[in-house]
């Protein structure tokens, strides 16, 4: 059975956050490749709380490279680019060391590009723009990378964990399982491997439980969704469940949700690449309004603006940055509705992380 058929049968979904069907991506590149395809091994990991990509690059280095070279063989690629976050020095060193141990026919395919430490740098289109031109801003799609990516060649941009899963499949092993990063009010935060049957509650228990009484849980990192704790703990950790990049963040009850959300919105607004007006001005307006509420008393008109504008910015950018931020904010307004409606500047809770 071909590797693509194995990937298909396992139902593998991409682990970079978008949960795209891996088999479809591979097939699209395979159809177009004339021995010129490019494999981009995506270890940019720009998601602030995520650590699982660095974990897999340092601890399962050979699996990542195996997956990359399986892809190179299967998709008839003549180039493998390791796209690794410029601040992830340990991961980079581990990967480079492992490349030295590979046979010459594999080694000569490899080059390295160090991804700028910005949120959007991990997006497929930004990776390709960076490898081609040295600037990690997302560009318009289509053409999609599988059609015209690095140097105009069909390109597979694949998250490092996904490639490691492919390597397991190619060895005839089950690829099931998911790497998650537990963050926030957790007794022992960090990376955990779980199977898809495990619930978020069980995963948290496995990490020594929560370190404080929780207020809510953020599922899927900064492009994810806030959920009430009792709803979140029941969720199974299977991809396609809105797990995104796999970050599970526990907000303790001692922290102010409004101040926390305002801080993250300011961060996401500052990470807009300012190429599309609605993203740059829209996210800034949303972040400013959140901050107004956080710094002052909540006003009903501020709240209704947030609700309205969060819908208005969706689908208005060349990439999905405004959509991710809007989904995050809408879920916050939902779960923290009462906190947003009754916020006082001088609350007893500590301000932010």
């Amino acid at each position: 059975m071909s590797v693509i058929a194995q990937i298909e049968r396992a139902g593998l979904l991409g682990r970079g956050g978008a949960a795209f069907r891996t088999a479809n991506k591979w097939r699209a590149v395979a159809e177009r490749s004339r021995g010129n395809a490019v494999i981009v091994v995506n270890g940019a990991e720009g998601e602030p709380r995520s650590m699982k990509d660095r974990f897999v690059m340092t601890q399962r280095t050979e699996l990542v490279l195996d997956g990359a070279f399986v892809a190179a063989r299967e998709l008839r690629a003549n180039r493998v680019v390791l796209y690794i976050g410029e601040r992830h020095a340990a991961a980079r060193d581990a990967m480079l060391r492992a490349v030295q141990g590979r046979p010459e026919r594999e080694r000569r395919l490899v080059s390295v590009a160090l991804a700028p430490a910005r949120y959007v740098a991990g997006a497929e289109a930004a990776a390709i723009h960076f490898i081609d031109e040295g600037i990690a801003t997302p560009v318009n799609m289509p053409p999609y990378p599988v059609e015209r990516g690095v140097g105009g060649a069909p390109t597979l941009v694949q998250n490092v964990e996904t490639l490691a899963r492919v390597a397991l499949l190619a060895r005839g092993l089950p690829a099931g399982g998911t790497l998650i990063t537990l963050a926030g009010a957790v007794a022992s935060p960090g990376v955990l491997e779980v199977d898809s049957e495990t619930t978020i509650g069980e995963a948290l228990a496995g990490a020594g439980g929560m370190s404080e009484a929780p207020r809510a849980i953020l599922v899927g990192g900064y492009f994810g969704r806030w959920m009430e704790t009792q709803d979140a703990v029941a969720i199974g950790l299977a991809h396609g469940n809105g797990l995104g990049c796999g970050v599970i963040g526990v907000l303790p009850a001692s922290r102010c949700p409004v101040c926390e959300v305002a801080g993250i919105m300011r961060y996401l607004a500052s990470e807009s690449s300012a190429q599309c007006g609605p993203c740059f001005f829209g996210l800034r307006a949303l972040a400013d309004t959140c901050t107004q509420i956080a710094n002052d008393v909540s006003k009903p008109e501020d709240l209704s603006r947030l609700h309205r504008w969060a819908n208005d910015v969706r689908g208005r950018g060349a990439c999905k940055h405004p959509d991710g931020a809007a989904i995050f904010l809408s879920s916050a307004l939902d779960v923290f509705a009462r906190d947003f409606a009754n916020h006082r500047h001088t609350h007893a809770l500590s301000r932010t992380a």
Binding site: T137, A274, G277, F280, W309
Partner: protein
């Protein structure tokens, strides 16, 4: 009676199209300016601009369809798409057809901006400065209502609004409101070797 309903609809929809198109032009121009407040962030101006443009197209379609199907004018479909093809007020109607087709091109390329790229989109978008005056002259030339007080009022208001916006645009010089933040971000993610 049903015939005159069509005829009145044509004229009414034409007037509404002029109002909407002028608003779209004004909003498009204001979108490049620093027009914003706490309750009206700039991205809403562009959103309203594109939504109103789609609405303009709806009223323009109504204007054209009712004119064509009206047995009184007996225009035929060819006259709606081929400039200067109608026996009826050939020149003024032809201007309307040109204006309509340019507008259609502008709207279609805006919807497909991701496919055609920013540069070509922008080049075609400049045609707006032809669409609006041609459409205006079409209305005044063909217009059954041109010299009625209410239509004259609408025309003057539209001309004044667009003229004001254009003056504002010219006096503020060429400026891209995103230029500074975009350059800053690009600089932060630029790892090209210094030459």
């Amino acid at each position: 009676m049903s015939d005159s309903i069509l005829w009145y609809t044509t004229r009414g929809a034409g007037a509404v199209t002029l109002i909407l198109l002028s608003s779209v032009v004004v909003l498009g121009i204001l979108g490049t300016q620093r027009v914003q407040s706490r309750s009206w962030p700039r991205f809403l101006t562009t959103g309203l601009h594109s939504n109103l443009a789609l609405m303009t197209l709806v009223f323009l379609a109504l204007h054209i369809v009712t004119a064509v199907v009206d047995p009184f004018t007996n225009l035929g479909w060819a006259a709606a798409f081929i400039p200067f093809d109608s026996y009826y007020r050939t020149f003024w109607l032809g201007l309307g057809v040109i204006s309509f087709e340019l507008l259609l091109a502008i709207i279609v390329t805006s919807l497909l901006r991701g496919f055609i790229g920013h540069r070509s989109w922008r080049a075609i978008h400049w045609l707006t400065y032809a669409v609006w005056p041609i459409g205006l002259v079409h209305g005044m030339g063909t217009g059954t209502d041109t010299w009625s007080a209410w239509m004259l009022g609408i025309t003057c208001a539209c001309v004044a609004a667009v003229a004001l916006a254009v003056v504002l645009r010219i006096s503020s010089g060429a400026q891209d409101p995103l230029a500074v933040p975009r350059a800053a971000f690009r600089g932060a993610v630029d790892r090209r070797e210094p030459r």
